[in-house]
């Protein structure tokens, strides 16, 4: 018995060793393989796969879904054996990777005049220190959604105070007038921007104890008091899909889920903050292609071909449709089918006020610090000014520690 087991084990080991070595030798000449890492949903990738098919057999494009991609890129971003050629991700890590020196500017492959065709917000997000590192595909902004069954046309809040009085009236018997991921910086930033504030300046100065931020936090708190204690997405989204929350702020990716759950969902403009007259202005994420330096030279021709295809407005529109996001190219909005899509058009108009997520390296620590600050204020009930002061100090320390 034991002998057979050990023989089997030995065989298995030998097999695995030969298996590994043979796998390595497949990198021979012939068609160029372009590997693209991504973290996207399958329909999005299906569109992309379809689009790059025409490059076969000269260029073979492989899409690989990668979790924990941001960490992996830090480790293997410069490794000839393990790094991909391109990756598709939101624009907010550009600063980190550009400083690390693993990215190649997009303008080395694409004529910079072509970038004029894109929605300004997207190019702004793709630019770090004057250099464009991303070819935008589509962008998303958070949207104000409501359940038509509960919220009548006349109830749609024009201002935040309208929203508050609606919440006061309707939050009872397990129902919520309005829910959001209140202590998650990506969501709460909309309120801060609505007060004319910002988490961090463009040159990396944290602003957590600024007047605008503290005013926004203090004001926001009264809304949070009428929301559930949990801030994570599962709770908030479930409340809305189960028809227990009348309105929410969520990303476009949430809409298909909601519709599947049989909720009659509609999009409304973001409420305007009474005090400032500014609408809640959420962060926006620009999804696009980035080029890694490792293979950029050697595969230049093939990468250029792939990028060229991705700059086709048809691809942009198709991507927008399956992802529920808005196309990055301006010309797409002239099409009738795009204009007919209320979701896309809502995002296009939110894009006028939305703020691209900061792409500077300093932002990396801000997510965590701002998250703690928000929970401290919203959940633990700490004093706003004190919490903001200590969070600001923490942010300064951490940013200092990055250097």
């Amino acid at each position: 018995m034991k002998k057979t087991v050990s023989i089997i084990l030995l065989l298995v080991l030998l097999l695995s060793l030969t298996g590994c070595s043979s796998q390595q030798e497949t990198k021979t000449a012939g068609p160029v393989t372009i590997t693209i890492w991504h973290d996207k949903e399958e329909p999005v990738i299906a569109v992309l796969e379809e689009a790059v098919k025409e490059l076969e057999p000269d260029v073979h494009v492989v899409f690989e879904k990668k979790s924990g991609m941001t960490e992996s890129l830090k480790l293997v971003g410069n490794d000839k054996n393990a790094a991909p050629d391109l990756y598709i991700f939101a624009h907010d890590k550009i600063g980190v990777y550009a400083e690390m020196g693993i990215l190649t500017p997009i303008t080395e492959f694409v004529d910079s005049s072509l970038l004029d065709r894109y929605v300004p917000l997207t190019v702004k997000g793709a630019t770090y220190k004057g250099t464009v590192y991303q070819l935008p595909l589509y962008f998303e902004t958070l949207l104000f959604m409501y359940n038509k069954k509960y919220m009548a046309e006349s109830d749609i809040p024009g201002t935040t105070e309208d929203l508050y009085s609606y919440m006061e009236r309707k939050t009872r018997y397990g129902h919520y007038g309005f829910v959001e991921q209140h202590s998650t910086p990506y969501y709460a930033a909309g309120w801060i921007h609505g007060f004319g504030g910002s988490l961090i300046t463009e040159d990396g100065q944290p602003l957590l104890n600024s007047e605008e931020v503290t005013a926004a936090l203090a004001y926001h708190k009264k809304f949070v008091d009428l929301m559930p204690g949990e801030t994570e997405y599962a709770t908030v989204n479930t409340l809305f899909t189960e028809g227990m929350a009348h309105a929410t702020i969520a990303g476009p990716w949430f809409v298909p889920t909601v519709r599947n759950a049989g909720i009659d969902v509609e999009i409304a403009p973001m409420p305007i903050v009474n005090e400032t007259g500014l609408p809640l202005a959420p962060y926006s994420g620009i999804q696009g292609v980035h080029i890694l330096k490792v293979h950029a030279e050697e595969k230049k021709a093939a990468i250029s071909k792939v990028l060229e295809i991705l700059m086709n407005p048809d691809v942009s529109v198709a991507l927008a449709k399956v992802s529920g996001c808005a196309p990055a190219m301006e010309s797409c909005y002239e099409r009738e089918d795009v204009q007919a899509d209320s979701l896309i058009m809502a995002m296009r108009s939110t894009a006028e006020t939305a703020v691209p997520m900061p792409n500077i390296p300093e932002m990396d620590v801000m997510w965590s610090v701002a998250g703690t600050l928000l929970t401290d204020v919203n959940v633990s009930g700490y004093d706003v000014l004190e919490a903001a002061e200590s969070a600001q100090q923490k942010a300064l320390d951490l940013i200092e520690a990055m250097k």
Partner: protein, 302 residues
């Protein structure tokens, strides 16, 4: 005399020769990386000097000690409390369960044992997420719903420090008990039955037998596994981080162990020099702890 020391040297040589494959492997995968981390800790490797880093001496350590303020001390205290509470509960419960599993008249023994091992088969992070979202969630969590039905109170399990600590402990026990039960069960099996038989003849009750036979016999066998578990508990990160601190899902509790503290204060900065310095400091701290506990137990552990 000379001959004797010669055979001693030969013996030593042979011993190391036999152990060498294992020691080499450990040297390569465990020791070398620690040394390399120590080297990185002396450099300024960070986002801005990713490839062109240079040695900057002890600056990172200076900064680390400066950063390790009162927050670090309370994290250290938490870590000790966490380790002690978890180990005590784990040992007591595992001892109880494994003894009961070995009660003579228990036909379903293997069935129970297998089921008790289930938690251990699931990948750790999946279980933690299931506990967090499925059980403790303050809106829909199963425990919350049951609690509401029983007492009408809505409990926010993970919101305040004490109850979050207890919840994390419960999850840790859930994850770690199977291993402990398995080890103790194996240990119990190796105790000679005749001891108990003669003890029964002498009129010793079950508790007496547990104290004077089971415990002393079990101790040397499970000792190493227990020491190993102490360190596993000490360096536990996933449970506390995923349950209470994950970005975008913070629950409001502020329970930090030194590892989560280091993560939040160093690792998110992408400054590898700085965070390596902190890793090495934690390692140094562990050495100090190990020395203290070693002096206490001397011959016992090694």
């Amino acid at each position: 005399m000379k001959a004797k020391s010669n055979t001693g040297a030969r013996k030593t040589l042979i011993a190391y020769l036999v152990a060498s494959p294992s020691l080499l492997l450990i040297g390569l995968i465990v020791v070398f990386p620690i040394l390399y981390t120590a080297y990185i800790s002396l450099t300024n490797m960070n986002t801005y000097h990713w490839f062109n880093y240079s040695i900057i001496g002890l600056d990172n350590y200076k900064r680390a000690l400066f950063m390790f303020d009162s927050g670090f001390l309370s994290a250290l205290l938490n870590t000790v409390v966490w380790t002690v509470v978890n180990m005590v509960l784990q040992l007591v419960i595992a001892f109880l369960i494994s003894n009961l599993l070995n009660v003579k008249r228990l036909p379903l023994r293997n069935f129970y044992k297998t089921i008790l091992m289930f938690p251990w088969a699931m990948p750790g992070y999946v279980s933690i997420l299931l506990w967090k979202t499925g059980m403790f969630n303050s809106q829909f969590g199963l425990l919350t719903q049951w609690m509401e039905k029983l007492s009408g109170l809505t409990v926010r399990w993970l919101q305040n420090d004490v109850s979050a600590f207890l919840c994390c402990t419960a999850v840790n026990l859930w994850l770690a008990l199977p291993f402990m039960i398995m080890i103790m069960d194996g240990g119990l099996k190796s105790i000679d039955r005749s001891y108990y038989e003669s003890a029964t003849l002498d009129g010793a009750g079950p508790i007496r037998q547990a104290v004077s036979i089971t415990l002393p016999c079990l101790r040397p066998i499970i000792g190493p596994s227990v020491v190993i578990t102490v360190f596993t508990t000490f360096k536990q990160f996933d449970i506390i981080y995923l349950m209470t601190q994950q970005v975008g899902a913070q629950t409001g509790a502020h329970i930090h162990t030194i590892i989560t503290y280091a993560y939040e204060n160093a690792f998110i900065t992408n400054n590898y020099g700085f965070s390596s310095a902190i890793s090495i400091l934690i390692f140094a701290l562990l050495i100090v702890f190990a020395q203290i506990s070693n002096r206490r137990e001397k011959e016992e552990t090694v």
